[in-house]
């Protein structure tokens, strides 16, 4: 990054010490500008890995605010601390042996019964998820709703660091999504067909050919690649296009939800 002289400097406190940093930096960039080397509490720098939770205050509010350091711009008067890790210890479970019942999530995470619906978790979530609502869904055994509402969780753990009931929200959401994925949505027939093809060795020759290629030959092959066309013609498949929406995917339930036909 180039910092030119005409970028105004702002004052902030990093972990209790005063610094002047250029405005317009992310918190993470400001920490590095100030001379710190981040060996923990930094990861993808793209808002996906959840490794860089930050706690901060503004000089005009008594509140504690939370954010991801890589996604939030510094502000004048900010006082912040990096929170590289929120301890997560849960009772181990074996998904293969779980029998899904309405109280399965409660049995694995009995502390969710302590939720007082204060909604602090929701207000702390940098993803803007309805965290308290997915805990409440888990509490009443609505695994599907818990899975849907927690779909975009990046496990940064800020919710859990702020919860007065010490709930491990992101672990609850993860188990809800696992149970929903394993027991509720129907298995994709394409997947089992593809696994059978793989096990029959249908792709072994192609893979062997690729393994034997030089980097230059691979590059040529890569540049010549073609995508499968979708059935109705026109656009090619994209794994990410549909989900990389700034809008909460819960609003797009019809896209991500598979109803079981009965």
């Amino acid at each position: 990054m180039t910092v030119t002289e005409n970028v105004p400097l702002i004052s902030m406190q990093l972990m209790g010490k005063d610094y002047s940093v250029p405005s317009g930096l992310t918190i993470m960039a400001a920490i590095e500008y100030a001379g710190y080397k981040l060996v923990r509490g930094a990861g993808c720098r793209g808002g996906f890995c959840g490794a860089c939770p930050t706690l901060y205050r503004r000089d005009d509010s008594h509140r504690i605010f939370t954010a991801l350091a890589c996604q939030t711009l510094v502000e004048d008067g900010m006082c912040l601390v990096q929170m590289p890790f929120v301890p997560l210890m849960t009772k181990p479970y074996e998904l293969q042996t779980i029998v899904p019942r309405p109280n399965t999530l409660l049995q694995h995470f009995p502390e969710i019964a302590g939720c007082v619906a204060c909604n602090t978790c929701t207000r702390a979530c940098p993803q803007g998820l309805q965290v308290m609502d997915y805990i409440q869904a888990a509490l009443r055994g609505d695994t599907k709703r818990a899975a849907m509402l927690s779909f975009d969780c990046i496990s940064c753990g800020i919710c859990s660091s702020r919860c007065p009931a010490d709930i491990k929200h992101y672990a609850v959401g993860l188990l809800a999504r696992r149970i929903y994925g394993k027991f509720v949505i129907p298995a994709a027939p394409d997947l089992s067909e593809r696994v059978a093809e793989l096990e029959a060795g249908d792709y072994q020759d192609v893979l062997n050919e690729l393994v034997g290629m030089s980097a230059a030959e691979l590059r040529v092959r890569y540049e010549q690649r073609s995508f499968e066309a979708v059935a109705d013609g026109g656009e090619t498949h994209s794994a990410t296009k549909r989900y990389n929406s700034p809008v909460d995917p819960v609003d797009f339930q019809d896209e991500i939800e598979i109803e079981i036909e009965r």
Binding site: R63, P102, N103, L106, A113, C115, V116, A117, C118, N119, T120, R123, Q130, M132, D133, Q136, L139, R140, G141, D142, P164
Partner: protein
């Protein structure tokens, strides 16, 4: 008639038979229960510490969301939810400054003006539908079935939220008589079942359940009928296994039987103490194949 419906966690997680039966019975009476969206736990036990505001946030939030969703009234099946919500609502009306304090500590996202109310489903049945209409809907009267209505605490106490006379309640008696059943009454109908002592002192609960069922049996009752899922759990699981154990019905299940509804909707097999033998004995359902 349409009414917003607050199920509560217990109904969803461990008393689904009560809900299934209630939805079917109310539909038969022309009442549509519309489940609230994104409701949270009621808070379970009403906090008597009136200034511990975080303990009052859960029930207040239920009312706040009810208002956001455009309703002023919500019905619930669970006695505990009813009691907690009703008491929190009184609190909210009497001390609006506490709601303001909650709103401030929650970043301004919780506001409630005290303008909503909660009704127990038995109030809806008694005061809106009416026992005459219920009697008229009966297709298979519970003739000869002798039931002991058990009220417990949460429907009746404290009296500012109770739905009936705290000493001599009548709502379950009148409902059962409308269905054609014979009612056996006794002094222990309004005694607490022991409630959450089932967790740490289940001998207290077992003793109370034994005394109440003994009184019911001496009076000739063949079954207990009640409303509260916690009372149901205690009566269903803490009677010693024997031929003389009294089956425990939710009032909605008996309404469904009397209305001649499909027994498969009524969750009749989800109890510890079997309900079917008694119903078969009175010819209220047929032996096999009648469970849908």
């Amino acid at each position: 008639m349409q009414i917003a419906y607050y199920p509560g966690c217990t109904i969803k997680a461990s008393a689904s038979q009560h809900e299934g039966a209630a939805l079917a019975v109310l539909r038969a009476l022309g009442v549509e229960l519309r489940e609230m969206e994104e409701w949270n736990c009621c808070g379970v036990v009403h906090s008597l510490t009136s200034d511990n505001l975080i303990r009052h946030m859960a029930p207040v939030r239920v009312f706040a969301r009810l208002r956001e969703q455009g309703a002023n009234e919500v019905a619930t099946l669970c006695d505990m939810c009813f009691n907690t919500l009703a008491r929190a609502n009184i609190h909210a009306r009497q001390q609006p400054e506490q709601i303001v304090a909650m709103s401030v500590t929650s970043g301004g996202e919780l506001s409630y003006d005290g303008g909503a109310s909660v009704q127990h489903m038995l109030q809806i049945l008694r005061d809106r539908v009416g026992f005459a209409k219920i009697r008229a809907r009966v297709r298979r009267p519970l003739r000869g079935l002798r039931v002991y209505p058990y009220y417990g605490c949460k429907l009746l106490r404290p009296s500012e939220v109770g739905i009936d006379d705290p000493e001599t309640p009548a709502v379950l008696r009148d409902l059962m008589q409308a269905l054609g059943a014979t009612v056996v009454e006794g002094s222990l109908q309004t005694q607490c079942c022991g409630a959450y002592h089932v967790v740490d002192h289940d001998e207290i609960v077992a003793e109370r359940v034994a005394a109440t069922t003994a009184q019911a049996s001496v009076g000739g009752a063949e079954a207990i009928v009640l409303s509260c899922p916690l009372c149901h759990y205690n009566f269903d699981t803490l009677q010693p296994a024997s031929d003389t154990a009294l089956p425990v019905f939710y009032y909605t299940q008996l309404m469904g039987i009397a209305f001649g509804l499909e027994p498969g909707q009524l969750g009749l097999e989800e109890q510890q103490i079997a309900l079917l033998p008694l119903l078969q004995q009175h010819n209220l359902i047929h032996a096999k194949g009648d469970l849908g």
